[in-house]
């Protein structure tokens, strides 16, 4: 199981982190990877801090335990930065992506992480512009694929359209796709973002 990418999602109940964890896994599965996605099975209440996990690997995944040393941490709600140790167990050269209007270097300082890159994107504002609702999960996926290069943006767009074209109205679908693309463009890093 070499090259297994482990992602930990931090959010509050209702922000769509579990859906995002699942969607990312499904997109990776569609491009031939093995995947896992699962929430932390604690009490699930609207607004309470929750965690979810995604594993993506090019070989079969056989482990059935929580992610302890994530390569990538995604924080959908910046108020969690004061409540939860989001950097806990972060793998060497790991990535933390936070939904905030703040500058990545400020967030890095606030988290006190030494190694690892911090990316930020204002996903809530993007969601308000494109969807009219503060649901940050879809833009965070756009920012995540830019920050990590885990999956191609086109694959995400295609898979999103295929998965939700029946569930969402054309306007809502279009808004989500725009949110993904905008976050992909707008995500910033505490070091200059290498061109991928």
């Amino acid at each position: 199981m070499e090259e297994c990418t482990e992602i930990r999602w931090h959010a509050r109940g209702g922000q769509g982190a579990v859906t995002a964890a699942k969607f990312l896994a499904e997109t990776a599965l569609a491009s031939g990877k093995d995947i896992q996605a699962f929430p932390e099975y604690g009490p699930e209440r609207m607004g309470a801090p929750i965690q979810a996990f995604t594993r993506i690997a090019s070989t079969p995944i056989s482990i059935y335990c929580p992610v302890e040393n994530p390569n990538i941490v995604v924080v959908l709600d910046e108020t969690l930065l004061d409540v939860v140790d989001v950097a806990k167990g972060l793998a060497k050269d790991g990535i933390i992506l936070v939904n905030t209007a703040d500058d990545p270097s400020d967030v890095k300082k606030r988290l006190g992480v030494k190694n690892g890159k911090v990316y930020t994107v204002n996903a809530t504002s993007i969601a308000m512009d494109t969807l009219g609702k503060p649901i940050p999960n879809t833009p965070m996926i756009g920012a995540l694929v830019k920050a990590t290069g885990l999956i191609a943006l086109d694959d995400v767009i295609d898979h999103f359209a295929a998965s939700f074209s029946k569930k969402f109205s054309p306007q809502v679908l279009e808004g989500n796709l725009k949110a993904i693309e905008r976050a992909y463009e707008e995500v910033t890093v505490n070091e200059r973002l290498e061109s991928r």
Binding site: K22, L29, A37, S62
Partner: protein
Amino acid sequence: MKDMSKKRIVATTGASTVAEAMRQINPDVVVAYPITPQTAIMENFSQFVANGIVNAEYVTVESEHSSMSACIGSSAAGARVMTATSSQGLALMHEMLYIASGMRLPIVMPNVNRALSAPINIHCDHSDSMGARDAGWIQIYSENAQEAYDNTLQAIRIAEDKRVMLPVMVNLDGFIISHGIEKVEFLEDEKVKNFVGEREPLLPLLDVNNPVTYGPFDGLGGFFMEHKKNQADAMERSREVILEVADEFAKISGRKYGFFEEYMLDDAEVAIVTLNSSAGTTKYVVDELRAKGLPVGLLKLRAFRPFPAKELAEALKHLKAVAVLDRAISPGFTGPLFGEIKSALFDLEKRPRLINFIYGLGGRDYTLHEASKAFETLMDVAKTGKAKKTMDYLGLKEVEVLA
């Protein structure tokens, strides 16, 4: 909606793979009563009912005692019957479990393993199914969602085989497997339909031209003991049926099953024996330790009843030390599986040293760290020939807990 007649690779939960197996089996009767974490299976299945894509008689009842009773009645009538449960639900069914097996009814029931209260806990352990060990049900265990799907399909054939005619419980780990999303391959509807076939009931209660009685009084002057021997003999015959059905299933799926899976076991010196999802996590650690040159292996038990004692002894006899992992405990004894593995090895002239680890009670994590620790202890036992403790716990918090 995707074309469900085709082979599909999907990202889905263990609970929905079991529901999908049930959709493809399309039983005559499905009886439902909710209990976490099983509920997700019946939620999924009830959508198939509501959408009219299955024609099962879907019976909702007021308790698990009633759900098993309804299964018993409909199975005796000649129907192909399924239900699913967990934990307290299985415990509440307990007396009906014996009636289902004693009446030789081929009911198939996925059990999503969950701890028993008290204290209240909704998470995974195997106390529920271990408590039903002697109820006369065939018990099969599944590492992951794929195996839960595959085992559910095979269970129908095993249960209804005329040599067997016994109920089958398919176990999968609560939440870890039932609610985790992973990659699963579903077979074509048509292939499954041909594989499971139709139930040909033996002496159905509704055959009014050939009236029969099920489960009447059978006292001192009767044949109670002979019935019990017949039941035990049927369980013995299920051994060959389990293997035959597995062979046939391999032909349509490419996936091979037996009484157990051996992982890097042939040339191992020490090994872990375990059930369900912990086997997957252990495999990863086996690979890691093998890369460092350590002779470690794994045996994942699939058939717990009937218990493949002879085959287990053969597979484990060359080892220096074996750790049996139990996700349940029999207070005053050890873990239940440990006792059984120990008895399976008793007749060997030269036996491996055996130790027992209790792990994962009430959903306590079994991580790579716990698996590594178990192997570390095993290597030490193999080296010294001695075990400091026969039974120990993995992942226990080092705190004083009020008794």
